[in-house]
C-alpha cells in the first residue's frame, strides 16, 4: 500500500534537481530518439485523473503526463526562485509583492485543439479552492485572494500576504485544467465525472486508451507546442501482486516499477537487464498515540495522556534493529514528523534512544510494575495493555507491527494488533477512535503540512487532521516562525526547535522512513528521471533505435486508432 501523500511539491522541486545527473547525460536530438513504448507497473487503477481530485501516487504519475502547471521548479530546487517556463512563458511580480502576473505561451493548446487561455487559469484556481471539490491541499491556497484574467494570455494571482511559498502555490501547485470542458460539470459529482476517465490536458502525452481493470495507454501528442514526447506511448498496467511484479520485471514484460521489498530489490538490482534508482524517503510511519480518550476529546486518554509512558514505550523499542530486519538498506528509523529528505529536516535532533533498562526503570517509576508470576506490567491492578490499530492494506506496517508486538511483550507491555481494512482505518483515525494507530504520512518538501497535522488549532478542530490530539504551543510558535522566515538559516533554526519539541513530547513513536527503489529496463534512457518522482521527465525519456524491442516498433499508428 502506498502511504498517504501530497506529492506535487516534492515532484516539482525534485524534477529539476537531477537533470544533469541522469544516466546518459543530456539526450541527443535526432530521429533515432523518437519512438518506442514502455510499460510501467502501478499498484492500483486510478479512480480519476482530474488534477484537483488526484490523491494516490498512481493517479499522480498518470495525471502528471497529461496536465501541466504554469512553471516548473528550477534546477536549484528553491521554492522562491529559479523556476522554468511551462504553460507560462514569463512572469513578473507587482511592486507590493502581493500579485504575480503570468503570461501564457500563445502556442499552448488543449489536446482538443482549443487554445489555453488565462480564463483557464482563473477557472483552475476557482476549482481547486472550492471546498465542495475536495482538493486535498486546499489549505495551501488560503493566501491566494483571487485570480484574474488581464487579457486572454495574462493571468494575475492576487495574495493577501507575502510568504516564502507564494510563487510555488501559484505557479506549480495546480495543474491547469480546461474551463470549456469542466465549467458545466456539477462540482459535487466531479469524482465520477467522465472527464476524470477521459481527460483532455495540455501535456506532452494524451490519453490513448483506458482498459478498465487492466491498463491506461498514453500516446505522444505530436502537435505539442514544446515538441512531441520522444516515446510513442507509455502504458500503465495494474500489478497488485509483488511476486508477479518481480517476475515480470525479470522477463521484460514490464519496463518500470517501484520496489519496496528488500529481498526482491536485492534480486532485481543485480539483474543485467535492469538498472536501479534509489529514491530518498518521503514516506514515514509512526505509532500515533491518542492523548485524549477515543472519540471523547474532552477527556484525557487513560494511558497516553502521560508523556512519561509515551517516552517509556519509545525507549522500549530497538527501532534500529526492527527497521533493519524488515527493510535492510531500504529503510531507516524515522527521526520525527519529517523525513531526512526534507530541506528543513534535522536528523541531528536528539532522539529518544533505545534503552530497555531505562524503559523498565521509567515504567517502574510511573507505577507500572511487573508483579511476580505475571507477564504484563500492572498499576493499581490494571494491566498495561492497549490495542494498536493497523491498516491491513499496508503490508509494511502489518509486518512491522508483529515485530513491535514481540518487542513490547518482552518488556512486559501488553499490546494487541487491531488490524482493520484501509477504509475502516481512515474512518476511525479521522473520528479519533483509537488509542494507538500505526499511521503513515507522505512528507512534502515544505514543512507547512505539519500545521494541519500537529498544531493546537488542528487538534481542537473536529475536522482537523491532528488525530492524536497533540498540543504544545511552543511547537506551534516555532513552526509558524520557520514557515514565515525569509531566509533558510532562520527557517532551519526555528524548524529545529519545533522538531526538538515534538520529539521530546513523544506524541508518537517514529518508526521508519522507507525508501523505494525504481527499476528501469536498461534500454530506457531516463533523462530527467528524479529520485522522488521518477516519472517527472517521461516525455524526455528515449530508447536508442538500435536497442528497441518488438513492442518499441509498433509506432504511433496503432496507438492512435
Amino acid at each position: 500500500m502506498r502511504e498517504s501523500m501530497s506529492r506535487r511539491m516534492s515532484f516539482l522541486v525534485t524534477c529539476t534537481l537531477t537533470i544533469a545527473a541522469c544516466d546518459g547525460g543530456a539526450a541527443k536530438s535526432g530521429e533515432d530518439e523518437v519512438g518506442g513504448s514502455i510499460i510501467v507497473a502501478t499498484q492500483a487503477e486510478p479512480r480519476t485523473l482530474l488534477p484537483p481530485l488526484v490523491s494516490a501516487i498512481d493517479e499522480d504519475i498518470v495525471s502528471d503526463q497529461i496536465f501541466e502547471t504554469l512553471a516548473w521548479v528550477g534546477d536549484e530546487g528553491q521554492l522562491d526562485r529559479g523556476y522554468r517556463p511551462a504553460l507560462a512563458d514569463s512572469w513578473s511580480w507587482e511592486n507590493d509583492s502581493l500579485a504575480i502576473v503570468f503570461r501564457l505561451n500563445p502556442q499552448a493548446r488543449w489536446q482538443d485543439g482549443k487554445p489555453v487561455r488565462a480564463s483557464d487559469v482563473r477557472f483552475t484556481h476557482d476549482l481547486f479552492a472550492d471546498s465542495t471539490v475536495g482538493y486535498k491541499d486546499r489549505a495551501s491556497l488560503a493566501h491566494i485572494d483571487s485570480v484574474t484574467a488581464r487579457d486572454s494570455l495574462t493571468a494575475v494571482f492576487w495574495f493577501d500576504a507575502r510568504y516564502p511559498e507564494q510563487f510555488f502555490d501559484a505557479a506549480s501547485r495546480m495543474p491547469i485544467v480546461p474551463a470549456h470542458l469542466l465549467a458545466n460539470e456539477p462540482r459535487a459529482t466531479l469524482p465520477t465525472s467522465a472527464f476524470g476517465r477521459a481527460p483532455i490536458g495540455s501535456g506532452r502525452f494524451r490519453l490513448g486508451k483506458w482498459t478498465p481493470n487492466s491498463s491506461i495507454e498514453l500516446v505522444a501528442d505530436t502537435t505539442h507546442y514544446r515538441g512531441r514526447a520522444k516515446l510513442d506511448r507509455v502504458v500503465f498496467t495494474i500489478v497488485s501482486d509483488p511476486n508477479a511484479l518481480s517476475a515480470r520485471l525479470t522477463t521484460g514484460e514490464l519496463d518500470v516499477a517501484d520496489i519496496t521489498n528488500p529481498a526482491a530489490f536485492k534480486t532485481l538490482a543485480s539483474h543485467p537487464d535492469l538498472k536501479v534508482r534509489i529514491n530518498p524517503a518521503y514516506d514515514y510511519a509512526f505509532l500515533l498515540f491518542n492523548t485524549r480518550a477515543p472519540k471523547r476529546r474532552a477527556a484525557p486518554n487513560a494511558l497516553f495522556a502521560d508523556p512519561g509512558l509515551r517516552r517509556a514505550l519509545t525507549m522500549a523499542l530497538d527501532r534500529d534493529k526492527l527497521v533493519r530486519s524488515q527493510f535492510d538498506s531500504l529503510g531507516v528509523v524515522a527521526v520525527g514528523p519529517m523525513t531526512r529528505a526534507q530541506p528543513l529536516a534535522d536528523s541531528t535532533i536528539s532522539p529518544i534512544r533505545y534503552d530497555s533498562a531505562g524503559a523498565a526503570r521509567l515504567l517502574d517509576s510511573l507505577g507500572w510494575t511487573l508483579p511476580p508470576g505475571k507477564t504484563v506490567r500492572e498499576r493499581a491492578g490494571k494491566a498495561l495493555t492497549f490495542k494498536v490499530m493497523t491498516p491491513s492494506i499496508s503490508s509494511n506496517r502489518m509486518a512491522m507491527i508483529t515485530k513491535i508486538h514481540e518487542a513490547f511483550r518482552r518488556q512486559g507491555i501488553g499490546m494487541d494488533i487491531d488490524a482493520v481494512d484501509g477504509n475502516a482505518f481512515i474512518t476511525r483515525v479521522r473520528a479519533r477512535d483509537f488509542d494507538v494507530a500505526f499511521d503513515g504520512r507522505h512528507a512534502d518538501v515544505s514543512i507547512s503540512g505539519l500545521r494541519s497535522n500537529w498544531t493546537v488549532a488542528s487538534a481542537k478542530d473536529a475536522a482537523g487532521q491532528n488525530f492524536g490530539n497533540y498540543e504544545n504551543p511552543k511547537f506551534d510558535a516555532h513552526l509558524d516562525s520557520a514557515l514565515a522566515a525569509r531566509d533558510v538559516p532562520n527557517a532551519r533554526s526555528h524548524a529545529r526547535e519545533a522538531f526538538s519539541t515534538i520529539v521530546a513530547d513523544a506524541p508518537a513513536i517514529w518508526v521508519y522512513e522507507v525508501r523505494t527503489a525504481t527499476m528501469f529496463h536498461k534500454r530506457i534512457r531516463t533523462v530527467h528521471a528524479v529520485p522522488t518522482a521518477w516519472w517527472a521527465g517521461i516525455a524526455d525519456w528515449y530508447i536508442p533505435a538500435n536497442e528497441r524491442i518488438e513492442r518499441d516498433q509498433v509506432g504511433l499508428r496503432v496507438a492512435s486508432r
Binding site: T211, T237, N243, G422
Partner: protein, 309 residues
C-alpha cells in the same frame, strides 16, 4: 434467493466501517464539507432504511444504481468484467471436470498400486494449496524459468492491437493458460479424489461383475459401465463448485492481473463502491442457483432414474 443475497449484502456492506468517501489513506486531507457534499449526491446521508427502500425500488426496475468510484451505472462496471471471468471460470471448470474425472478413473483402475498412492498424495497436496500460491508457482515455472507463457493480463499489451484476428485469438488463449490452469488444477485435484472414491464404490457392484463375466474388457467396464454410475456425485460437486470458482477467481485474477469480476469486486469492497459490491454478490448468488440447475440437468442426463420435470 437472489433478493435475499442482495438484501444481506446491502446490509453488510453498509454496516462495514467507512463509506465510499472516506476510503483511502491518500485522501485523508480532503475536507469534511466535500465529503458531505459527495455523500449527499449519492444519498448516503439518508437513513439506512430509506437507502434500502430506494435500492429495492431501483432493483425492481432492473437498475443497481450508479457506481460510486466510476462514471456510469454499477451494472456497466460488472458487465464489462464479467466476460473475462466467465471465460476464466468456464475454462477452469471444463479443465477441472474433464481432468478430474479422467484422473480419478485412471487412479481407480490402479487402486492400491504405488502409482495410485503417489497420484493421490499429489492431488491431496494440490487441492490443499491456496490459489495465489499455486499461481505464483506456475508463474515461476512457466513464465519466469521456462518463459513459455505470458504471466499476466488478458492480452499482450501494446502488440495486441497490431495482431491479425487469428494471432489475437492465439494471444488470448496463451494468456488464459496460467490463470485457468491455476483454478482448474485445484478443482481437478478435488474432483479426482471424489471420482476415484465413487468408482471404487461402484466397481464391486453386481452389474460390473456381470459385465466382466460377459467378457467385456476392463477398459470398457471402467469407462462405459462403472464411470457413468460413478459420475453422479462428481456432477453434483462440479455444479456446486461454480461459486467456489468465483471465490478463487478473486485471488487468481489478482495474481495474474486478469481484468475480471473478482478483481472488480475486491477493489469495489476496498473502495466501498456499494452498488458494485452488491451486484457482484448477486452474480455470486446467480451462480449458486445456476450451479444447482446445472447439477439437476446433468444428473438427469447421466442417471436414467432421474427425470427433469
Amino acid at each position: 434467493m437472489i433478493f435475499i443475497a442482495a438484501s444481506v449484502s446491502f446490509l453488510l456492506v453498509h454496516l462495514a466501517p467507512g463509506d465510499p468517501f472516506s476510503s483511502t489513506l491518500d485522501s485523508a486531507a480532503v475536507s469534511e464539507s466535500a465529503r458531505a457534499a459527495w455523500r449527499q449526491v449519492y444519498g448516503l446521508d439518508r437513513p439506512l432504511l430509506e437507502q434500502y427502500v430506494r435500492f429495492l425500488a431501483q432493483l425492481a426496475r432492473g437498475n443497481l444504481g450508479p457506481s460510486i468510484t466510476r462514471p456510469g451505472p454499477a451494472s456497466a462496471v460488472l458487465v464489462e468484467a464479467l466476460p473475462n471471468t466467465l471465460l476464466l471460470m468456464g475454462t477452469a471448470l471444463v479443465l477441472s471436470f474433464v481432468g478430474g474425472v479422467a484422473l480419478g478413473a485412471w487412479q481407480a483402475s490402479r487402486a492400491g498400486t504405488r502409482v495410485d498412492r503417489v497420484t493421490g498424495t499429489a492431488s491431496l497436496i494440490i487441492a490443499s494449496l491456496p490459489e495465489f500460491w499455486l499461481g505464483i508457482l506456475l508463474i515461476t515455472v512457466f513464465g519466469l524459468r521456462l518463459r513459455l507463457l505470458p504471466m499476466a493480463d488478458a492480452t499482450t499489451l501494446i502488440l495486441y492491437d497490431s495482431m491479425s484476428p487469428l494471432q489475437q485469438l492465439m494471444d488470448r488463449a496463451r494468456h488464459l493458460v496460467l490463470p485457468a490452469l491455476t483454478l482448474g488444477l485445484l478443482g481437478m485435484a478435488s474432483i479426482a479424489r471424489y471420482q476415484r472414491a465413487a468408482l471404487l464404490d461402484v466397481l464391486p457392484l453386481e452389474f460390473v461383475r456381470m459385465a466382466r463375466a460377459k467378457g467385456v474388457s476392463d477398459r470398457a467396464v471402467l469407462w462405459r459401465h462403472a464411470l457413468r454410475n460413478a459420475l453422479v456425485p462428481t456432477i453434483v460437486l462440479a455444479g456446486l463448485s461454480l461459486p467456489t470458482l468465483l471465490g478463487g477467481a478473486v485471488f487468481v485474477e489478482s495474481v495474474f492481473s486478469w481484468p475480471g469480476l473478482g478483481r472488480v469486486a475486491a477493489n469495489a469492497f476496498e473502495g466501498r463502491d456499494y452498488q458494485v459490491v452488491i451486484g457482484a454478490t448477486m452474480i455470486g448468488a446467480v451462480l449458486v442457483v445456476a450451479g444447482g440447475i446445472l447439477t439437476d440437468l446433468l444428473h438427469a442426463a447421466v442417471d436414467p432414474r432421474v427425470r427433469v420435470t
